[in-house]
Symmetry: C2
Subunit: 122 residues, 2 copies
Amino acid sequence: MHKKIMYIYHMANSKLYKGSLVTIILKLLNESEKMYGYEMTQKVKEITKGELNITEGALYPALHKLEAEGLLDVEVKKVDNRLRKYYKLTEKGNKETVSKLEELKDYIKTMETFMSPKFSLE
Amino acid sequence: MHKKIMYIYHMANSKLYKGSLVTIILKLLNESEKMYGYEMTQKVKEITKGELNITEGALYPALHKLEAEGLLDVEVKKVDNRLRKYYKLTEKGNKETVSKLEELKDYIKTMETFMSPKFSLE
DNA sequence: ATTAATACCTAAGATTATTATGCATAAGAA
DNA sequence: TTCTTATGCATAATAATCTTAGGTATTAAT
């Protein structure tokens, strides 16, 4: 979307917290077997009802990096004369997914102690 | 702690996700009225049982920035011939705290949809 | 015929955290 | 008593990650 002028549009974009993008990508691929980049942006928007917005400027470099690290495999396909790069998890990627999800789960649990009205202490 | 050699020490440090440090600071001050930097690092370690580690290299610049933005007030005190800089929330800081906590809460809720084994869709 | 949607990409900049220092005092261990 | 750990502040270099702002190209919709 090349926005030159953008009066009305309000992005309900609650910014991503650092590190969560990779976890999101891995989780998506863990559920969907194989996906292409643009599809991920739409899927996330859909699932979160617009709450989360994966920007392509962050997504594509992240995908390339995950591929370079051997966590993802790519398969290029041409659909309607437009090319899609389908990504899927490797074995290594599967392991990393488990660990990343665990990490996020722990983090959420930890942060919830702060969210509670009083964190008991003292 | 000037660690020159550090064989054994293992940091259970689950890295901070971007943006959460400020939220942590605001929440601490919201609970404790006034605190100084070093105290915050200890408190967080204590509350999270070592799960979270606020590094001073991140904390102090963050405190300075929050002060510059008018969210925190400072009061310097000398205790045992060592100085402490006590921070407390301003009015503006109180408002920001509410909004930051709300933001984090929303974020956690959103991320939990990803954590669930299947996020229902499709 | 123009705009929106689909589909990829990268570079510049901002933000924020880590790592690695530095200084100084007080308390505790060797 | 000397050395280390703990307390308490600070900053600079680096790394990691995201946003913003472009760019190209094809297809669908208005």
